[in-house]
Symmetry: C2
Subunit: 407 residues, 2 copies
């Protein structure tokens, strides 16, 4: 029951010059499911990534960080679903390395030019025979016009494939940005991961791309939450192939225009994860304005977004202001003057001066709550910083999905 999930077709997804995608059904966990994705990148492609902060990070995350640090030029990505290769110790690390080595051999590149990704059950080892046997088929399928299949190939319990594609004119040329994502909560059976990949044919230097990836991630994949559980495998990768012939440099207007479009692609990909969140029936934007700094803005936004009481109230379409105020209050922000805070549900001014707004009526709140998409806006009047976090409600279906025994 995804919330306002847009229709996505293969035709909408523009190929990105220099990026070929191929998939296979390797039978890693289930038969008859695309579960292996290979992405081949043209030479000179710059690649940057951000990864989970979970101390229990998965073997492929460790290998990704190591290979990126070696700066040999990333030429391929390999993603499997069905098994997360997390909590798997030394053998897990060896299996991730071996996957890279086998793919590198078949593509004629170096092991360290491959980034591996896994998502699925944790505490189990990769079925290496199946995985490696699937590589030739994935390589055979490699083509630029394959983003929709790629989006399907990385799905686990996602109910819909997630992809966004945009084009922008810069210096008289068309720059393309196309991306895919997956994730729906950290879920049965330990299907953990949020994955995001965006490719562009723009040219961006490594240092600029590294900066950009962090900034973009912060306002997209690092601004969503379904249940507050950070997975062991979360990864977000940006690839810039330089094939458009346009090189963009930080500080120019062209760069800014490009960065804004990239941000839109990333934000929409992140929001698609929330819209398809486990059991989601509502899509909520928690906007905190006029905070003293970014940290407190995000802290309050997450406090509201994580509150089971706020989330169940939204599920029930209940304009339960007390729960929102309480969640703001326990966010742990020092010297918070609650009498100075204004709270809005969409455009309805619901709370002021530490209590209900005098003009507010329950009918106004109810009208907003009946919508599938709602903005909670919290104005702190402490400074100029702001943050937005996107989340979904908490339903019976969420409990059903996550209480279901692994099978």
């Amino acid at each position: 029951m995804a919330v306002n999930f847009p229709t996505i077709t293969a035709e909408q997804l523009h190929p990105v010059a220099g990026v070929e995608l191929g998939f296979a059904q390797a039978g890693i966990r289930k038969a008859d499911k695309k579960d292996l994705l290979v992405i081949r990148l043209a030479p000179q492609t710059t690649v940057s990534g951000v990864f989970t902060t979970n101390a229990f990070c998965a073997a492929p995350v460790r290998v990704c960080k190591n290979h990126l640090a070696q700066r040999r030029g990333i030429r391929a990505l390999v993603v499997n679903t069905g098994c997360a290769n997390a909590g798997t110790g030394a053998l897990g690390l060896a299996n991730a390395e071996r996957t890279c080595a086998e793919l590198a051999k078949q593509l004629g590149i170096d092991d360290t030019q491959v980034l591996p990704f896994s998502t699925g059950v944790i505490l189990e080892h990769l079925p290496m025979d199946n995985l490696l046997a699937g590589l030739p088929a994935a390589i055979e399928h490699l083509k630029e016009d394959n983003w929709y299949n790629a989006a399907q190939a990385i799905m686990t319990t996602d109910t819909l494939p997630k992809a966004v594609s945009k084009q922008i004119q810069i210096q008289g040329k068309t720059i393309t940005l196309t991306g895919i994502s997956k994730g729906a909560g950290m879920i049965k059976p330990n299907m953990a991961t949020m994955l995001g990949y965006i490719a562009t044919d723009a040219g961006i230097a490594q240092a600029d791309l590294d900066d950009l990836t962090k900034t973009i991630a912060d306002r997209s994949f690092n601004s969503i939450t379904i249940d507050g559980d950070t997975s062991t495998n979360d990864s977000f990768i940006i690839m810039a192939t330089h094939q458009s012939g346009v090189t963009l440099t930080q500080g120019t207007a062209d760069y800014t225009a490009f960065a804004n479009t990239l941000q839109q692609v990333a934000t929409e990909l992140a929001q698609l994860i929330v819209r398809d969140g486990e059991g989601a029936t509502k899509f909520m934007s928690i906007v905190v304005e006029r905070a003293e700094n970014d940290n407190e803005a995000k802290r309050i936004a997450y406090s509201v977004a994580h509150s089971p009481l706020v989330k169940t109230a939204f599920y029930a379409s209940d304009p339960n202001l007390g729960r929102i105020l309480a969640a703001i209050g326990y966010a742990g922000v020092k010297d918070l003057d609650v009498d100075a805070i204004d709270v809005y549900l969409d455009d309805v001014h619901v709370a002021t001066a530490g209590g209900r707004h005098p003009d507010y009526t329950e009918a106004q709140g109810q009208a907003v709550m009946n919508q599938a998409e709602i903005t909670v806006r919290i104005v702190l009047h402490r400074g100029e910083a702001h943050a937005t976090v996107w989340t979904c409600d908490f339903s019976h279906e969420y409990v059903t999905i996550n209480a279901d025994y692994r099978s």
Copy 2:
């Protein structure tokens, strides 16, 4: 569906010399419910309290802090259910003060010798006419042998009254400790609060009692969680009447023996709240051992205790180790070496060296998970600090209770 909730009878609850309790049905929110409690304390009673850290703290909490700070000697407490008097601005503060003043007049004491407490709906004003009209009846009922009625009088959506009573022999005399608590999650309709009151006939100086109250609270009411939502009204009060003739001083063996018993009473009262948690079907102790410091021990324990994925897995009796490991991993403890962590479900060694224990079988885990009461023990091997947090599982019933429209 409370979990292993003990049978509590009026006869088990020893009166405490110098403490009289009286209740009334004031009709604050519902008819035919005890909703007003007055506690009268003998002169010379020392009283200490700890309160919610929520920035949206309720009017009575502010008044309590103010009256305690004035050190005039607390002689009475007044508790109402049905309305939390939170998010009520200046009028709320005036109402809490007026409640104290009216009770003080009838008892012949000073306004500042009264502590007020409220629990119930937030963002609504106290029905002062009903509340004040109920005071004479509550005063008329005042008697020492009234703890069971008092436990009932402070219930909101609690399904069972919560009380603990113990006696200990010190210096040839019997010292009595009796307490009551309430709370079941921060719940419909914004029934927020955790309240706890313990009285003893021991004599304890104000400074010692202040220290003791903080320590005791830390290992009892500040070590439980149902949904992670901190209420606007949480309060915990200890009263020492000196009526036993035994005075206890910090640093003596007698004091330590008394403090241990007091800790037991507080811990059991706190655990009763979890056992009667909304929708609870399991009672879980999350024990973190060999941490570098108390803070990181508690942080990891709460990370596991708050994870919706861990809580739904326990609801399903699913020995889902991956979710526990992931929650440890994202607790935000710096330089956590996950390969050094051992995890036990009761006595079963389930995880070691960053993965599943080699001897662990799913059948062993399943056997533990089928129990109603389970200990998750996490050994970090970083130092000598430890912490325990008690929590319950996350069920369909929790969503049903909290998604139910306020009515």
